[in-house]
């Protein structure tokens, strides 16, 4: 046995491993978190979590009609800037869809048992892929049952708050294999509200925005990488739309330009941490 951190267990059996690794394997697959008692407990936890999120943050939700137009199973793919993303996105979902939503995260997220168990219980989190890149069966099972899977194809949180390339095509692959629509989601303001290094949102009531886009379906013959690229473009367009306006983004559909990376990481972080304005507050002009 190596002295390094053990990798995830093979859910199909494989070689017999020590007990503590087998316990991590159960969390990794999320099996216990999908049982009826666990789902009831999750509903109770989310009944507290959702008001806590909307009370602590000012959450603006746009494009909900695109999500409402999708019936049954769906994949949600979102940019990932903060640990707040999952809580904010779950709070933005309609209650009915939230109940059947699971969150697919990277395998490395489950290194620590308390965090892993807490995430699995509160958010329905499970590992989307194993360490060898193959998808676990949890996402497919959930989608086949008509549920929703939230995935972050960037793989990990953004360092500077900007959208990173989609390195994990698992969501695209699932959509192709199971013929499930994918709803792109753009999250803005979560990086500013709780950036890397913080475990609690910044003071005040920071504003975050959730913007759903029209569902995309894989074209005939389209492979996972091509579809993943299309999803990346869709999320980038939504971020550009949220930053400017829909009309501006429509006529200039390129992703939001990123400033130069020459020793200027702090400038990108600076730009990502600018608080979002309150759309309802407008300078008043006294009109005759």
């Amino acid at each position: 046995m190596s002295g390094g951190a053990p990798g995830p267990a093979d859910i199909d059996g494989g070689a017999r491993r020590p007990a503590r690794h087998r316990r991590r394997a159960r969390v990794y697959a999320g099996g216990w978190a999908r049982t009826k008692p666990a789902e009831r407990a999750r509903r109770g936890a989310q009944a507290v979590l959702v008001p806590a999120v909307t009370g602590r943050l000012a959450v603006d939700v746009n494009g909900a009609e695109h999500l409402d137009a999708v019936r049954g199973a769906a994949l949600l793919v979102a940019n990932h800037g903060s640990h707040l993303d999952t809580a904010v996105l779950l709070a933005a979902l309609p209650a009915g869809r939230r109940r059947s939503t699971g969150v697919g995260v990277g395998a490395g997220y489950f290194d620590r048992w308390p965090r892993a168990a807490g995430s699995a219980l509160a958010f329905g989190a499970f590992s989307l892929t194993r360490s060898d890149g193959r998808p676990t069966s949890t996402a497919a099972d959930l989608l086949r049952r008509g549920g929703t899977v939230l995935a972050y194809p960037e793989g990990s949180r953004s360092v500077d708050g900007f959208l990173q390339p989609f390195t994990d095509p698992t969501a695209a692959r699932l959509a192709i294999d199971l013929r499930v629509p994918v709803v792109p989601v753009a999250l803005r303001g979560t990086y500013a509200a709780m950036p890397r290094g913080r475990s609690w949102p910044v003071s005040g009531r920071p504003r975050v925005r959730v913007r759903f886009g029209r569902a995309l379906t894989p074209a005939t013959g389209e492979d996972a990488d091509a579809f993943s690229t299309r999803l990346h473009t869709a999320v980038a367009d939504l971020l550009a739309e949220d930053e400017a306006t829909w009309w501006v983004a429509l006529r200039r559909p390129a992703a939001a330009p990123e400033p130069s990376t020459d020793g200027a990481v702090w400038r990108r972080v600076w730009r990502s941490t600018v608080p979002l304005p309150d759309p309802r507050r407008r300078s008043r002009i006294w009109r005759d």
């Binding site: 009609e65 029209r214 009309w247 429509l250 759309p279």
Partner: protein
């Protein structure tokens, strides 16, 4: 499969039928032999409205695709119906928002930068920001409103109107545009007047709109033709029409549009509580509850292209949805006037608007022959409470108090009061800067009411305020039996009775 409308003859086993009456609907037992005209069920809605619009834009009627008519550097204006269509207000997302997104997506692909949107408000009130946001959707609103590119028409803005010939003045931006895309919701028989009418009435000057909706045009629809011709010659239009279905109420109020014997257990059990509880709530609370009732209209078809081709096609689809065959005219027609009124969104339905709505439903929504025979009696159910919104209907207050107490004759109203109401600076100020209807608005509604009313004899309002009924030239009765007694001298003691079970809307096709 959607069931068509039909006529039921009331018999022993017919349950009491729902009759709208302001914000307090009631169940009424009609005499045996009463013909009840039920509207059709909704036809299937298009599964994806955005795709349906995109397809219509690519394959329009009698026109090149929209994309071929667009070019960079052109001036484009998109106009759309205001909040009067449909009623009740549709729950979010409004179909206009999706249609505008689809149109603007095509416009963006063509590289057109000079784009503006104008709501066809005409002499109706200006829309609030929240209402514009509701109609156009967050994407379009945020893209255009802050830059002043999403506005309402202003019939009194002398600097913003241009003479297009024939004595017709039109919105300057629209008159100067290379192309106008008109987005229209086809929801009722009014739409069969054609989109050109909506364009002229929505964007014309006060004088122009008065030629379309004044007394002369009400008595002779042909009088409006020169105005429509001038507008059609001045503006190049690409039309996008969306035909609506009949889902007039969204849950939990959906049972109000259902056939009474199909109410489920919960609805049957809830009705007594509703009926007994509503009177105790007070008028303001009832109105707030009624204002929250939303519709769930879907779009059954999208048509795009040249107005001359789209108009008849849309009318045909509308008829397919709403026409109900009625065997014969009746001596007495019953209509309930509900709370939802096109000109009373977020405002109480005053007696003038209630009268207009009831008379219009009974006497104008047909394919050529009214359900009521000439000289027959009309029975309306409406509270006719003299409750006016000084914010939205300031001219109605004075019209009711001053004009109707002097005369109800439309000719005399026009000769004595029209100029004053048209030019009153206070009404004009409120119309231009607040959310008030224009000073001429009540007069136009009265002309339509009075001209249509000439077809019938007595008009009796069941449950209506007596003073209001008298002011309108109607009679009031406490019950339907009393109303029948009042009109017995003109229609006899055993008249043939027809009850139009609306909403949802229907167009009667009388044999």
């Amino acid at each position: 499969m959607a069931r068509p409308g039909f006529v039921l003859e009331v018999g022993e086993r017919t349950p009491p039928l729902l009759v709208p009456s302001g914000d307090r609907p009631r169940l009424e037992r009609f005499p045996h032999g009463t013909r009840v005209v039920f509207p059709a069920e909704s036809l299937p809605a298009v599964p994806d409205l955005f795709e349906a619009v995109a397809e219509a834009l690519v394959a329009p009627l009698d026109s090149e695709p929209l994309r071929a008519r667009l070019r960079p550097g052109m001036r484009l204006t998109i106009v759309f119906d205001d909040l009067c269509v449909p009623v009740p207000v549709r729950q979010a997302p409004d179909p206009r928002a999706t249609i505008l997104q689809a149109v603007l997506t095509a416009v963006a692909e063509a590289g057109v930068d000079d784009v503006a949107l104008v709501a066809l408000t005409g002499l109706n009130r200006r829309l609030t920001e929240a209402e514009l946001l509701h109609l156009t959707g967050e994407r379009v609103f945020r893209s255009f409103f802050a830059d002043g590119l999403l506005t309402c028409a202003d019939a009194e803005d002398a600097g913003g109107l241009t003479d297009v010939g024939g004595g017709v003045a039109l919105h300057t931006r629209v008159a100067a545009s290379d192309l106008v895309v008109q987005v229209r919701l086809v929801a009722g028989v009014d739409a069969t007047r054609g989109g050109a009418y909506a364009l002229a009435a929505g964007l014309g000057s006060t004088a122009t709109v008065n030629r379309l909706a004044g007394l002369a045009a009400c008595e002779d629809p042909g009088a409006a033709e020169p105005v429509l011709a001038a507008v059609a010659a001045a503006v190049e239009v690409f039309r996008v029409d969306a035909v609506l279905d009949l889902d007039a109420y969204a849950p939990p109020a959906a049972f109000l549009a259902k056939r009474e014997w199909e109410w489920n257990l919960q609805e049957r059990a809830g009705w007594p509580a509703l009926r007994r509880g509503l009177p105790y709530l007070g008028a303001k609370v009832r109105r707030r509850l009624a204002d929250r009732v939303r519709s769930a209209y879907g779009v059954t078809a999208v048509l795009a292209g040249a107005p001359e081709a789209v108009d008849p096609a849309a009318a045909k689809l509308l008829h397919a949805q709403q026409v109900v065959d009625v065997p014969a005219q009746a001596d007495l027609v019953v209509v309930g006037v509900g709370h939802a009124n096109p000109y009373a969104v977020a405002a109480p339905t005053n007696p003038v608007l209630a009268a207009w709505d009831g008379v219009r439903t009974a006497l104008t929504e047909h394919t050529g022959t009214p359900v009521l025979r000439p000289g027959g009696a009309l029975v309306l159910y409406a509270p006719l409470t003299a409750d006016f919104s000084p914010l939205r209907h300031p001219a109605y207050v004075d019209f009711y108090a001053e004009v109707l107490s002097a005369t109800t004759d439309p000719l005399e109203v026009r000769d004595r009061f029209e100029d004053r109401f048209a030019a009153d600076p206070w009404y004009t100020h409120l119309y231009r800067t607040r959310q008030a209807f224009h000073g001429l608005h009540p007069l136009h509604r009265w002309y339509q009411t009075a001209v249509a009313r000439r077809h019938c004899g007595d008009v009796v309002v069941v449950g209506g305020d007596r003073q209001s009924a008298e002011r309108l030239g109607f009679r009031a009765a406490s019950t339907f039996a009393d109303a029948c007694e009042i009109v017995a001298s003109s229609v006899g003691r055993s008249p043939s009775i027809t009850y139009l079970h609306t909403p949802p809307r229907l167009i009667a096709n009388v044999a």
